[in-house]
């Protein structure tokens, strides 16, 4: 059976499925794609000696599209979970983002402990498909968990006072608190609830590609490139604020 690596070489382009997700992948003011993943995929293609082509795809259609061969690999901030791993293959993780809670100040005024969130009257929101949802389910089994297609809508839910807190991977919660000071705050001083393991997703039955991508990640972890890029995008938004249309 032919490996997707051969296909990529023959075609001369690496096609990457992704979805918009600050600061992993977003639009610059010029409408171009930029972000951590964009850097990763571009470098990956460079190292393979091919062009890169991004296929922005709605999150809910991204897995079938991968399986149907609409692109070669998903580099989309996708976290490894055993459940998902039964359907697709994951490479070694290339990032470990921490998850933070941003909470509505008013609603959580008398919350003193992490366990206060674990109550049937508490609404917690997350973006569908991020590892944060799993984290919430594990940490607060009694709370209502509502999943939205986008962080923007999830956040609005907290701002409107319909939900107590939103979970998202750092550094986004910090940006939100900055923008809406007084309405929301980082819960427990921004303590990380859990770390995710973001990895590339591939179709099953292709050990060659899996091996190649995993080792590419390993090499770039060793030489510090991944960490350097990660820091650039995740430690704050001053560095890229101007090019991006985000707040």
């Amino acid at each position: 059976q032919e490996s997707v690596l051969d296909t990529i070489q023959e075609r001369g382009t690496l096609t990457v499925g992704m979805s918009t997700f600050v600061p992993w992948a977003m639009r610059s003011t010029e409408g171009e794609l930029i972000g951590f993943e964009i850097d990763v995929a571009t470098k990956l293609a460079e190292d393979m000696g091919v062009e890169v082509e991004f296929v922005p795809t709605a999150w809910s259609g991204i897995i079938p599209a991968l399986l149907a061969g609409k692109f070669d690999v998903i580099i989309g901030g996708m976290s490894i979970t055993p459940q998902r791993n039964l359907t697709v293959n994951f490479t070694a993780p290339y990032a470990n983002s921490g998850n933070q809670l941003a909470a509505n100040v008013e609603l959580t005024a008398d919350f003193t402990d992490m366990s206060d969130f674990d109550d049937t009257s508490v609404n917690l929101v997350c973006r569908r498909g991020v590892v944060g949802c799993d984290v919430l389910a594990a940490s607060f089994p009694r709370a209502n968990i509502l999943q939205f297609d986008d962080n923007a809508q999830a956040l609005q839910e907290v701002l409107n006072g319909n939900a107590h807190a939103i979970i998202a991977s750092a550094p986004e919660p910090a940006f939100w608190v900055e923008d809406n000071a007084g309405t929301i705050e980082l819960a427990f001083g921004g303590e990380y609830l859990a770390r995710g393991n973001e990895a590339f997703a591939l179709r099953k039955g292709d050990p060659d590609a899996l091996n190649f991508f995993s080792n590419w990640i390993l090499v770039n972890q060793e030489n510090g490139w991944l960490e350097e890029r990660h820091d650039y995008w995740f430690s704050g938004r001053k560095a890229w604020m101007d090019v991006v249309a985000t707040e």
Partner: protein, 282 residues
């Protein structure tokens, strides 16, 4: 009149409360930047994501309307014709599409059928740089050559979906023509084909124009569903812009305005057409 005042008062009240209740920083500038921007190098205005999305939606609307009308016309005719096989096929087609959620239809079509059909037709391996596709007209009519196959499968998907409803409209139109017209046509010895072309369709078209216009407007709005298969139309790009900027409301209000503009324009054109068709008669 009292009723009218009441509604106006309600609208004013809501507008007034928006700012006092809603925790939201309105900022239109970011979103508007995604409609059009000044190019850094040339210093000229160029379209940005939202406008590009709007163009894609308009392309989808135009070709989709055309394609759906053709399919719907053929299927609608099949629904009413004597051949049982054609009746079964068209009936099944209509019932299937009307009863499956669009999402699932798109999945099945895109992931199973089009991924078989397109390579078989050689559409997957179109040379993107050949002068056939890499020219101004092609770009104007179908958008970026690189995205053409996606555009096409989205288009076919949408057209097939809407055509099921058009089929029913056409059927109703054909059946609404007085039986006497069929009989008179047959009595002067017209063949079935001639009868349909000269007598039935021209009369049916006048009757179905209004519901047809409604269905085409639905088509424009439903074109959002194919964002699921990476067609970069207005709704899809709006989601991206909203995600990037965090300005959900501005984006969606703007997008609603854009949809309203095309739909209303479309309705207007159709109303004109209808009046023309009506006037021709007396």
């Amino acid at each position: 009149m009292a009723l009218f005042g009441l509604v106006v008062a309600a609208v004013v009240f809501v507008a007034w409360r928006v700012n006092s209740v809603l925790v939201y920083n309105w900022d239109w500038s970011r979103v508007l930047g995604f409609v059009a921007r000044i190019d850094g190098e040339t210093g000229q205005w160029v379209s940005n994501l939202l406008l590009q999305g709007l163009f894609t939606t308009i392309r989808l609307a135009f070709w989709g309307t055309l394609l759906a009308a053709i399919i719907g016309l053929v299927m609608g005719y099949w629904r009413t014709c004597d051949t049982l096989a054609l009746r079964i096929i068209s009936r099944t087609y209509v019932e299937l599409i009307r009863n499956i959620p669009p999402l699932v239809f798109i999945f099945i079509f895109y992931f199973f059928i089009s991924s078989q059909l397109f390579p078989a037709l050689g559409l997957d391996s179109i040379d993107r740089d050949s002068p056939w596709v890499d020219n101004a007209f092609f770009r104007f009519a179908f958008g970026e050559p690189a995205l053409f196959t996606n555009f096409l499968s989205g288009l076919i998907c949408l057209a097939l979906f809407e055509a099921a409803y058009i089929t029913e409209i056409v059927r109703a139109g054909i059946q609404s023509i007085d039986r006497g017209q069929w009989e008179a046509g047959r009595a002067i010895g017209l063949s079935r084909g001639n009868l349909l072309r000269d007598i039935i369709f021209p009369q049916a078209i006048r009757k179905i124009l209004p519901p047809l216009a409604g269905q085409f407007i639905t088509l424009i709005k439903d074109s959002a569903i194919i964002s699921l298969i990476s067609v970069q139309e207005l709704t899809f790009l709006a989601t991206e812009v909203a995600a990037t900027t965090g300005k959900t409301f501005e984006t969606w209000i703007l997008v609603a305005g854009m949809y309203f503009a095309i739909c209303y324009l479309f309705a207007f054109v159709f109303a004109r057409l209808e009046r023309r068709a009506g006037r021709a008669r007396r």
